[in-house]
């Protein structure tokens, strides 16, 4: 099932792309795939990131992804 992943800020920097398409049925499966592809540096960044699934922040990695879902990967920062 095709889902779109969008990387922002530091996540974009380590992934090297801003958008990619994946076949994944759950957030867990998707995270496994992108870590395999982009390596441990992304894995480290992901520990602090918010995942927005179609705009809703989701901490439950078991959540199912519907076909066409958009997952935004957002690292937090607090500078001002």
């Amino acid at each position: 099932m095709s889902v779109t992943v969008r990387y922002f800020a530091g996540a974009r920097a380590v992934a090297g792309v801003d958008t990619e398409t994946r076949d994944a049925g759950s957030l867990d499966e998707l995270v496994g795939q992108i870590v395999d592809e982009h390596g441990e540096r992304l894995e480290r960044v992901l520990t602090a990131c918010s995942f927005l699934v179609d705009g809703t922040q989701t901490r439950d990695r078991a959540v199912a992804l519907s076909p066409g879902a958009v997952v935004d990967v957002l690292p937090p920062f607090a500078g001002g």
Partner: protein, 386 residues
């Protein structure tokens, strides 16, 4: 999301005000009505730093009648690369007073209120209550969660902005009508994981881009024009030169905010592992100097990044960046035959690394309290701090 105007219009504008704001008055969407709303508005800037500078200067120029400033800090030379509300002659002065002087120079008609205190759970509600709108430009996670929760409790909207290196994020949060900050970032990142601008740096002009968006949203909220960023996050990438907006919805699983908490404890300064590792294994820069002078055999390891090492370093220190040790890649470069002394800029990162090297079996490793900054301020005052 289109919202009704946040502020009622003032009774009238003086002739002086009509002259000053004429370029606003001739825009049909702002007009006399919008300008009178700006005149009547009370906006509080939390922080007069990188984001607070453009926010305060533009809102003053725009004619926001009352501007509050929460700021306890003084102007440092390293602020001037981006905090354009302060100037060379302000170094060492109160940031709040320096910001007030700049505002008065831009627009003497503005009433400026200073809150020269550190915002905390005790004072936040009393300070926020006086204002229609809050603009958050602080520099740490603890204050950001405090600002959010206080705004939720008081049913106030706020314009949130955050910057790091080349990246900016801006949104409007208003729990009554849309998401709040916890719907985007429910919990803070692990302590020590996300560097601050002081540790990681920030492109100076990024403040102008992000702060200008915040000021724009403030004007729109006050006057009730246009589509605000409520329910959307604006993400700016200065290197790619892209603006992307992301839809943000309320988290149906989000826990309701019913009171203020201990935000320092919530966000932590360093992780529990690092605190445990550092207990009894922390030395001061004076002790480090004594060890050097006594000719003790040890390896001093600097866990900062190469560009920081270039700016200033402690003599004899070997550079192995934090991530190289935490990932295990350079663990083999640590000496087995003599004690390890770790340091970073201020002692936060070195405490995290200390926990990792202790776990890897280097039981007698220690780290240096205050890092190279303490070294430069106590031992070798000729060295720069950054």
């Amino acid at each position: 999301m289109t919202l009704p105007p946040l502020v009622e219009p003032a009774a009238d504008l003086s002739i002086e005000e009509v002259r000053r704001y004429s370029r606003h008055l001739i825009i049909p969407d702002v007009g006399m009505d919008g300008q009178k709303r700006l005149k009547n508005a009370k906006v509080l800037a939390v922080g007069a730093g990188g984001l607070g500078s453009p926010v305060l200067m533009y809102l003053a120029a725009a004619g926001v009648g009352t501007l509050g400033i929460v700021e306890f800090d003084t102007v440092d030379e390293s602020n001037l690369q981006r905090q354009i509300i302060h100037g060379q002659s302000d170094v060492g002065r109160s940031k709040a007073e320096s910001a007030r002087d700049s505002i008065k120079e831009i627009n003497p008609l503005i009433d400026v209120r200073l809150h020269e205190t550190r915002l905390d759970s005790e004072n936040v509600l009393d300070i926020f209550r006086e204002y229609d709108l809050i603009v958050d430009g602080t520099d740490n996670f603890a204050t950001r969660y405090l600002v959010n929760d206080a705004c939720v409790l008081l049913d106030k909207p706020y314009v949130w902005g955050s910057i790091y290196r080349f990246d900016g994020q801006v949104s409007v949060f208003w729990n009554e009508h849309g998401p709040n900050y916890r719907d985007l970032y429910p919990v803070p990142p692990p302590p020590g994981m996300v560097p601050s601008c002081a540790e990681g740096g920030v492109l100076g002009v990024l403040c102008a881009t992000a702060g200008a968006i915040q000021a724009t949203e403030a004007v729109k909220l006050i006057t009730g024009i246009g589509e605000t960023l409520l329910g959307r996050l604006m993400v700016y990438d200065a290197l790619e030169m892209t603006f992307r907006t992301i839809k943000v919805r309320k988290d149906p699983e989000g826990e309701p905010i019913t009171g203020l908490i201990d935000y320092e404890a919530f966000c932590g300064v360093v992780s529990e592992e690092a605190q445990e590792a550092a207990a009894g294994s922390t030395i001061t820069v004076d002790e480090l100097k004594d060890m050097m002078d006594a000719g003790k055999d040890f390896e001093l390891i600097d866990v900062r990044e190469p560009n920081e090492y270039e700016i200033v370093s402690i003599p004899g220190a070997k550079l192995i960046p934090k991530d190289e040790i935490l990932s295990g890649r350079k663990l083999s470069e640590l000496p087995q035959d003599r004690p390890i002394v770790l340091h970073c800029k201020t002692g936060v990162r070195s405490a995290e690394v200390l926990a990792a090297v202790k776990n890897a079996g280097f039981k007698d490793a220690v780290h240096v309290q205050g890092g190279v900054t303490a070294w430069a301020t106590r031992i070798d005052k000729a060295l720069p701090t950054y």
